[in-house]
């Protein structure tokens, strides 16, 4: 287990009487895509919040690259190499697409305290930003206002911003939600490659994508991981079928 890039050990979290995370221990190994599936309200986003530091677990710990980050703020985890995409796009809507990726590059550079130079003329930031846009196929939209992007393009931009940080681990919350089938297919192909740069903890509802991408799948139901295994194991798992997959598998 020591080679895990990302690891949660027994994290639990309650919202009042609702136990949103129950003793969750999962990990993410180099080069893999570990998918988290489960019905709406199962606690997937809550789990991600605790991994990324926007939520504090009631108990348990989170390790990133072997270091205990349980008590570190989100920004420290980000600087340590944790990239994240949000389920609900969290982009600066008034700004251009380029400005959004520049922010990611700026954060990774760790040098925001420059008050006079023009950020658009910072060649190193700009290269990082444009490269990330090119990789998700948004370079032509660089000068568009983010609010004018289609839903699917915003999801792509979320991924591009995460890429500018050169992450060592990626956590993605439903990156394909609301994308057309064409978009999902493209993104699936992209994530398939990306796993070799940074392993991905992938929360996703699109079962075609999950089954084609995941090295391992964990099934979350009522805040509890009821099964972890390969695609075939999960498909064959009776409890999973009953709790979640239904006829789909």
């Amino acid at each position: 287990m020591t080679d895990a890039v990302l690891q949660t050990s027994g994290i639990s979290k309650s919202f009042g009487a609702l136990r949103a995370s129950r003793d969750i221990s999962i990990d993410l190994k180099p080069g893999e895509i570990h998918a988290i599936i489960g019905p709406n309200g199962a606690g997937k986003s809550t789990l991600i919040g605790q991994i990324c530091g926007t939520l504090k677990p009631d108990s348990g710990s989170v390790h990133l690259l072997g270091k205990d980050v349980t008590h570190q703020p989100t920004r420290a985890r980000a600087r340590a190499g944790l990239g994240r995409t949000f389920q609900i796009s969290s982009l600066s809507m008034e700004d251009t697409v380029l400005q959004n990726v520049l922010l990611g590059a700026l954060g990774a550079s760790g040098r925001p305290w420059r008050f006079f130079s023009n950020v658009l003329k910072d060649t190193s930031l700009r290269e990082t930003a444009e490269e990330a846009l090119a990789r998700v196929g948004l370079l032509d939209q660089a000068r568009m206002r983010t609010a004018e992007l289609s839903h699917g393009q915003r999801r792509q931009l979320e991924v591009a911003v995460a890429l500018t940080q050169k992450p060592k681990a990626l956590v993605m919350d439903e990156p394909m939600a609301g994308m057309g089938s064409e978009g999902s297919k493209l993104l699936t192909g992209f994530l398939d490659q990306l796993r070799h740069e940074a392993p991905i903890l992938l929360v996703e509802h699109d079962m075609d994508a999950v089954f084609s991408l995941a090295d391992r799948i964990s099934v979350l139901v009522y805040g509890e991981v009821i099964a972890t295994g390969t695609v075939d194991e999960i498909r064959a798992n009776a409890a999973v079928k009953e709790a979640y997959l239904g006829d789909e598998a």
Binding site: A78, Q99, N118, D122
Partner: protein, 327 residues
């Protein structure tokens, strides 16, 4: 729709043309009015960094305006009385030199902004507004009770402070000095908004969680913006005191904070020239409507209502449409 940059150029041209006309027409009071507009504009350019870029709705910027005013008042008061401010731990004497006074105003208001910022940035939204308002009231009542410096009556300074190479007693020279400072402050605000810091601050206003996820601290970004903002408004306070040769606790009042915010809302929140257009229109309305009716604030209120309801971007937004995408 007019291009925003033409409107900005036109505004600057007015700030040059009107005083020139005033000299030839021998209307010195117009120069005083224009100086008032310039000083208000500087104060509001300061607030606009916190409000427009950082999204910090501060109703306490009178603190910095007042501190700048009192920095001038206290230094000049001691200079004109030939007394020392303090002799311990080391001797500090008064001064009639504007550059020194400005520096003092900037230092004092930055420090105040740092402390107020650290305390109030723990909150957001309405709480932030209330806390900054409360700080304003604290300083207001402190100034009222500070009998050594005039208490409620304030301090009068007999002769305007000096600037090397200029005769500041000549209204047009003092005006030119203030306009020069406004241009510098605008240049600073413009560079700031396009800088790496400006980019991060702009995002921190819209989606703080994104900024955190990028590895930056949105609260610290806002704190620095608040300090820069307070420093500029403090500088304006020192100029305002020199314009009137008088400081009083009114500079610390919540009405002052409100007026600085009104300049920005009138002109356009977050627009580079929003505070400038707003201050000019405000001073014009104050002069004309104030001459027509004692209740001119009602008309101002109506105008604000129209602007807020129909043009989110203030007068500049109404004339130029929404902000162009930067490149």
């Amino acid at each position: 729709m007019i291009r925003e940059r033409y409107l900005n150029a036109l505004t600057l041209a007015l700030f040059v043309a009107i005083p020139f006309w005033a000299i030839t027409a021998d209307e010195p009071f117009t120069i005083t009015l224009m100086t008032r507009a310039v000083v208000f504009a500087i104060a509001a350019v300061g607030l606009n960094i916190a409000l427009g870029l950082g999204g910090l709705v501060s109703l306490g910027h009178a603190v910095f305006f007042g501190l700048g005013g009192y920095a001038m008042g206290i230094l000049a008061y001691h200079a004109q009385n030939y007394t020392a401010l303090t002799e311990w731990p080391f001797l500090i004497e008064g001064t009639k030199s504007m550059p020194v006074i400005w520096l003092a105003a900037i230092v004092v208001s930055s420090l105040a902004a740092l402390v107020i910022g650290i305390l109030s940035l723990r909150t957001a939204g309405v709480y932030f507004i209330m806390i900054t308002l409360a700080f304003g009231q604290m300083f207001f009542f402190f100034a009222i009770s500070w009998a050594e410096y005039g208490g409620e009556d304030g301090l009068s300074i007999y002769v305007r402070n000096g600037f090397p190479g200029l005769n500041t007693l000549d209204p047009i020279q003092f005006y030119g000095l203030c306009l020069g400072l406004l241009c510098l402050v605008l240049l600073f605000a413009w560079r700031l908004s396009g800088s790496p810091f400006g980019l991060a601050l702009n995002a921190a206003r819209q989606v703080p969680v994104r900024v955190e996820t990028a590895g930056l601290d949105p609260v610290r970004l806002k704190l620095v913006a608040f300090v820069l903002s307070g420093a500029i408004t403090g500088l304006a306070g020192a100029l305002f005191a020199d314009l009137n040769r008088f400081v009083s606790p009114t500079m610390f009042s919540w009405q002052t904070s409100g007026e600085i915010m009104i300049f920005i809302i009138l002109g356009g929140v977050g627009r580079l020239f929003g505070p400038v257009v707003g201050a000019l229109v405000f001073v014009a309305l104050e002069h004309w409507l104030g001459g027509l009716s004692d209740f001119w604030h009602i008309y101002l209120g109506l105008l604000l209502l129209v602007i807020v309801l129909f043009g989110r971007g203030g007068l500049i937004g109404m004339l130029c449409g929404r902000e162009a995408v930067h490149d």
